[in-house]
Symmetry: C2
Subunit: 142 residues, 2 copies
């Protein structure tokens, strides 16, 4: 039986995060010691590892909830899990494309800056005048 601190160390999670996952129903309520402290077994360790790995791959907690549910029902079709992963992949690709455009413009700003006074700063100038912008950014957020 593991304490919450041990589970945290084993999974690279903060203690508060584990309690948070329990609170939002991502992890089941664990058993408790006589004094009321949480005690975990291997199944909880596996479940939390699953969650952390999925988080590291950028899945949202909602998506992870779906994936966990699928994982709990081995007879269900795999198609749904596949769809979630594809959706995630698409999001990652979109974000990459967006960052690519940002990188280009930031590089331009930085390379053109000659290092004088802010009055002539290319960085500020580019920010001031959107029309100089080579790329279109409809959406905000990386």
């Amino acid at each position: 039986m593991l304490t919450i601190g041990t589970l945290a160390k084993k999974t690279g999670t903060k203690v508060q995060t584990i309690r948070y996952y329990e609170q939002i129903g991502l992890l089941p309520e664990p058993g408790r010691s006589a004094g009321g402290q949480r005690r975990y077994g291997d199944s909880e360790l596996d479940r939390l590892s699953f969650v952390r790995h999925a988080r590291q791959l950028g899945f949202s907690l909602d998506a992870i909830r779906e994936l966990l549910d699928l994982s709990d029902h081995p007879d269900k079709s795999c198609a749904e899990a596949d769809a979630i992963a594809r959706r995630q992949l698409k999001q990652v690709e979109q974000r990459m494309a967006r960052l690519e455009a940002l990188r280009t413009e930031l590089q331009r700003m930085v390379h053109e800056c000659s290092g004088g006074h802010t009055a002539d700063c290319r960085v500020l100038e580019v920010l001031r005048d959107h029309s100089e912008c080579l790329t279109d950014h409809d959406e905000i957020g990386a």
Copy 2:
């Protein structure tokens, strides 16, 4: 003189967001009509455009605050603005590298999925077993 709604349309910002920027001190308090409604001039339009453009490039509101301050002092050295932009560029490059790794693993998951039952789903299997993971992910978040 522009109403807040017109300013919002011209800059592609939501009305609430403009009020929020004012609240956190990113935009100055504007003049008001006799009835108490906000009225904006060209300087506010420029300032908000600057903010939006910087946001679109992924700068944080804190970074934008610094950039605005520099922009307000044309005699200051450009070096600081340059440093902020370089920091941002670095962040973008780091995020891209991270997304690249995620994309690789997601592609692997998706390509290996044969479409049967979740019991044999590669997607879930990969998530379950971190040791199969080709990449290291210390940090969470794109």
